[in-house]
C-alpha cells in the first residue's frame, strides 16, 4: 500500500501515513527525514552540474537492482522512462550486462557502482582511478560516490522502516 500523496520518497514507497505509529516514530527525527529527502533531491536535481540526470538515474537503478531493493528500483526506473532514457541501456542494467552498453564513460560508472554495492572492500585506489581515466572530473567522481553511497543508505532505511511497519500491522 503506497502513500501516493507524500512528497517524501520513503514515506510514499513504504506506505507510511500520519496514522501509522512507524510514521510517528520516524517523524520524531524530522531533521533526518528532511536531510534524507534533501540528499535525494540534491543528488538527482536535473540542474546539478556534471553527470547528466539520466546517467545518475542509471546508477541508482543499478545500485537498487544489485542490493536488491525492488521498490526503489521500480521508483527510479519509472523516473528514467519519463526522461529520454535508452531502453536498451536499461535492459543491459537489468541483466547486469554492462559491457554491452557501448558508452565507456557510463560503463566505468556502473562498474564502480557494482563494486561499491556488492563488495565495497574491493574498491581500491585502482577502481577509483578508472573514473578519471574514463573522463570524469573530480567533482563528478564525488557526485558518483555520494550517489552510490546515498542509495546504500536509502535502501537500508527503506528495509528497516518496512520491517517496522510489517510488525506494527501484525500486532
Amino acid at each position: 500500500m503506497l502513500n501516493q500523496n507524500s512528497s517524501d520518497t520513503l514515506d510514499r514507497l513504504v506506505g507510511l501515513t500520519p496514522q501509522s505509529p512507524t510514521y510517528a516514530v520516524r517523524h520524531e527525527r524530522e531533521k533526518v527525514v528532511a536531510a534524507t529527502q534533501g540528499s535525494e533531491d540534491g543528488l538527482l536535481a536535473p540542474a546539478l552540474p556534471g553527470l547528466s540526470e539520466v546517467d545518475r538515474l542509471y546508477v541508482v537503478l543499478y545500485a537498487c537492482l544489485l542490493t536488491p531493493a525492488p521498490e526503489l528500483a521500480a521508483e527510479y526506473e519509472s523516473r528514467l522512462t519519463k526522461l529520454e532514457a535508452n531502453l536498451q541501456t536499461i535492459r543491459c542494467i537489468h541483466q547486469s550486462d554492462i559491457q554491452s552498453i557501448g558508452d565507456a564513460r557510463l560503463e566505468a560508472m556502473l562498474s564502480f557502482t557494482h563494486t561499491l554495492i556488492t563488495k565495497p572492500i574491493n574498491a581500491d585506489k585502482n577502481a577509483l582511478s578508472a573514473l578519471p581515466k574514463a573522463g570524469l572530473s573530480t567533482p563528478e567522481v564525488v557526485t558518483l560516490a555520494q550517489l552510490i553511497s546515498f542509495v546504500s543508505y536509502q535502501v537500508r532505511l527503506a528495509a528497516g522502516l518496512r520491517a517496522m511497519k510489517e510488525l506494527e500491522l501484525s500486532v
Binding site: V32, T67, A69, Q146, S149, S170
Partner: protein, 195 residues
C-alpha cells in the same frame, strides 16, 4: 585512557586519512564551500575527507545534517549503542578508518572496550549481553542482507527491550554507515601512526 587494540587489522588508534584524488584548496574555496565546511565538522578545513567531498558542497551539506542528527541527537538509542552499531557496520564493510573512530567514541561514552574487542575479533558472535548481541546481529543483517530484514528482526530487538524510537535510531545508525563507509573506504585510505 583506553588500551590500544590491534585485532584482525582493526584498531582503536587515532588514524589519519588521505584522499586518492585532488581535494579543494582552501585558498580557492568558494563562499558556499567555506560555509558548508564550517557547518560540517569543527576540523573540516584540515580534513582531506571534507575537503574532497566539498567539491559538491550542497550534497555534503545534506549529508552532514543527516549524519549529525543521526549520531548526536538526544533521546532514543543511547549514543554509545549508536557508536557500537557504527563500529559493527564498519567492521563488516572493512572500513578500518571508520571502525577506529567509532570504536574510540564507544569507549569514551561507555567507559569500556570489551565489546569492541569482540567486534574486531568475530563480529558474528559479539556482544557482552543479550541486548548487545541483538543490536550487533541486527546491524550485520541490515548491512549484508537488507532484503531479509522483516517483522521478526524487529521483534527480536523488542524482545531484548528496545523501544520503537530506539529501533529507528538503530536503523539510522546502521544505514548512515552504509553511506559513510563507502566514502571513507573507496575515496582514500587511512594513514597509520608511525611506530
Amino acid at each position: 585512557m583506553s588500551a590500544p587494540i590491534h585485532i584482525q587489522g582493526f584498531t582503536n588508534d587515532s588514524l589519519g586519512w588521505k584522499a586518492w584524488l585532488d581535494v579543494v584548496q582552501l585558498a580557492q574555496a568558494t563562499p558556499a564551500q567555506m560555509s558548508v565546511l564550517e557547518e560540517s565538522h569543527p576540523k573540516a578545513k584540515e580534513s582531506d575527507y571534507y575537503l574532497f567531498l566539498v567539491h559538491q558542497p550542497e550534497i555534503l551539506r545534506q549529508r552532514s545534517i543527516a549524519f549529525n542528527a543521526i549520531m548526536y541527537a538526544p533521546g532514543g538509542l543511547s549514543r554509545a549503542e549508536r557508536e557500537l552499531a557504527s563500529t559493527v557496520v564498519s567492521r563488516i564493510n572493512g572500513c578500518v578508518y571508520c571502525a577506529s573512530v567509532h570504536a574510540q567514541r564507544f569507549e569514551q561514552l561507555a567507559k569500556r572496550q570489551d565489546v569492541i574487542e569482540q567486534v574486531f575479533e568475530e563480529p558474528n558472535s559479539a556482544g557482552t549481553n543479550q541486548r548487545e548481541r541483538a543490536i550487533v546481529e541486527f546491524s550485520i543483517e541490515l548491512t549484508l542482507n537488507p532484503e531479509h530484514v522483516n517483522a521478526s528482526s524487529i521483534q527480536q530487538l523488542k524482545d531484548v527491550g528496545l523501544q520503537n524510537s530506539e529501533i529507528l535510531d538503530l536503523i539510522h545508525s546502521v544505514a548512515i554507515f552504509a553511506w559513510a563507509n563507502r566514502l571513507m573506504l573507496n575515496l582514500g585510505e587511512p594513514i597509520f601512526p608511525s611506530v
